[in-house]
Amino acid sequence: MTELRELARKLLSDGQVKVVIGYEEGPRGVRPLFATDGAAADRLIFDERCVQNLATYLDRRRVHVARLGKPAIVAKPCDVKAVAGLLRETQLKREDVVIIGVRCGGVLADPKSLQRLGPDTMADRCRTCETREPGLVDYLVGPMPEAVRGQSGRDAKIAELDAMTPEERWSFWQKELSRCTRCQACRQVCPLCYCDRCMADKTEPQWIESSPHPRGILAWHLIRAIHLAGRCVDCGECERACPVSIPLGLITRKVAQVVAQRFQHHPTDDPSVPSPIGTWRSDDPQEFIL
């Protein structure tokens, strides 16, 4: 903790950055902190409640954040993968951000949680995550955590769904999605959903209807999954942000499994690795094509 705070104070004092985007103890759980001076920097923390993926705040379209000046960002391995995504897709220049990587042994599901980190309390995505130490960073802080691993309820659920009949899967998803009001929280918190004008907001023609009726809801979640295919870093923000607890992680995880198995692609913090969509191999599997 002191390591992190001292580094932040240094970066701010010698003018390397104008703001350090990190985590602080809020009135109701851990929340993002935008530290612009030493005093604020002393509020920085990092622990298993630091769930949020702060890379989302690096999007230049967030003018109110961009106005603060060059940022440093406190980033877990999955967050760094998101930064790499922004670099890969020319949304960010490497020299325009300082990355303070934090070693991570997994986080809880909810920044407001009061539980201690354990195999059953840890966020589901962390139970299958291998990366403890982020690459691509300018600084690396924190002790190397022991690897807490757990059973992924998510993968089990996917297997369960795969075993169902199409009709059963259909009704499962219709029931889950029926709660969606198209509030777009899943889109807004996603570090890789950065378009100036989302396809779902395009009206001529309106491929994705804006109405939260089951048709518009399904179309939205399908296109979101497709656009994130091979790009999703599995930071879990969409599912966490959903105010009606739709299991969005099941969808992104399923697509990630398909991408990994078909194209041997896994989320990476190496910006030079091209995304699997936009590239191809002449021997890509095509067993489904007549």
Binding site: G26, P27, R31, F34, A241
Partner: protein, 350 residues
């Protein structure tokens, strides 16, 4: 105001009676993943009446649905167009187990919905619905109903308020509708006996919320009127993702969008959908110009609308202190904190 008591069993029985007589019963019920939501139940056994959770979304959607058709069109040869109005016959409904903050939210909405133009779909549903609330024990540290002139036992918007007592509830009849519901199901009610217990419950609940709730938000109006450009807005906006989850779960946010959806080449439907001032496209002009070009102005708009603009017009705060926006916010935005900060800036008003 007369009161009766009703046992838990009889309350569920009442729900069954209503269902039996073809009346739609809406109430808090367990949804998947341990979440509670207000929904029309098929059996009283589905009802999860006293929490501990707050239903994820408010009662708003039963009056102002996330999406509703207004009319359908069909264009015919020769440039003629045929219109079909959406029929408006909402089913008779009794809400059982509404939270006082959600019931109050509906009454707050009545103002704007019936203001310069009377919103027919809204009021049709309003009239067809009776709200039976259950006084709340206070949920968690995000509650602040006591800061907006309400409380865990608020009666506004409810037709009947049930206050938990030993073995059941003390039912306080608040409106004609409430009275009709009671008289219609006399057998389920017993004479009043729990006044003292109920009083104790209310006091404990109020104390629980007041312990952490910010100061009274009603006096903030004047400060807000004069501090449109205060640096506070830029600061609190930083965390905001502009997602609108807050508005989606809010009992009083009521902005909507009108869209024309083609459903074929010649047919389509005009719909009314929820919208929110927190997204950039809410205010973007056809020209591409956006008067609220950054999140500061959008956050300010949300706070201003709730605590200054709406009060100015309707003498009513557009917030019931349910705390859903705080719980739902992925960015950790905190309306309680904003109220406290503004109060402090306004010189500790309230």
């Amino acid at each position: 105001m007369d009161a009766m008591t009703i046992s838990r069993a009889d309350l569920l029985g009442l729900a069954e009676d209503l269902l039996g007589s073809g009346i739609r019963v809406v109430g808090p019920a367990k949804a998947s993943r341990g979440m509670v939501e207000y929904r029309a139940v098929a059996a009283a056994s589905e009802l999860a009446l006293e929490g501990p959770e707050l239903p994820a979304r408010s009662l708003k959607e039963f009056y102002l649905p996330p999406t509703e058709p207004l009319f359908a069109w069909k264009s015919l040869a020769g440039g003629k167009v045929e219109l079909m109005e959406a029929r408006m016959a909402p089913p008779p409904t009794v809400v059982i187990g509404a939270r006082p903050c959600d019931a109050a939210g509906v009454e707050v909405l009545d103002k704007v919905m019936g203001w310069d133009y009377r919103d027919e779909p809204y009021f049709a549903r309003r009239e067809a619905t009776t709200i039976v609330s259950i006084a709340c024990a206070g949920i968690d540290s995000s509650c602040f109903c006591t800061s907006v002139g309400l409380g865990p036992d608020a009666t506004r918007g409810s037709d009947l308020l049930l206050v938990p007592i030993e073995g059941g509830y003390r039912a306080e009849v608040l409106t004609e509708k409430g009275a009709r519901l009671v008289s219609g199901h006399q057998g389920r009610f017993r004479p009043d006996s729990g006044a003292a217990q109920a009083q104790e419950f209310k006091q404990k609940a109020r104390a629980k919320v007041a312990a952490h709730a910010p100061p009274d938000a009603r006096p903030l109006r004047s400060w807000l009127e004069t501090h449109f450009d205060h640096p506070l807005w830029a600061e609190v906006a930083l965390r905001c993702h502009g997602c609108g989850a807050c508005a989606a779960v809010c009992p009083t946010c009521h902005c909507f969008d009108i869209v024309d959806e083609p459903e074929g080449v010649t047919t389509g439907v005009r719909r009314r959908n929820w919208d929110t001032c927190q997204t950039a496209r809410f205010t973007v002009h056809a020209s591409g110009h956006n008067p609220r070009s950054d999140q500061n102005s959008r956050i300010r708009q949300r706070v201003m609308h709730k605590f200054m603009i709406y009060p100015k017009r309707f003498n009513e705060i557009l917030c019931t202190g349910c705390g859903r926006c705080v719980r739902a916010c992925p960015g950790g935005m905190d309306l309680l904190e904003v109220i406290s900060r503004v109060s402090a800036l306004a010189g500790g008003a309230g």
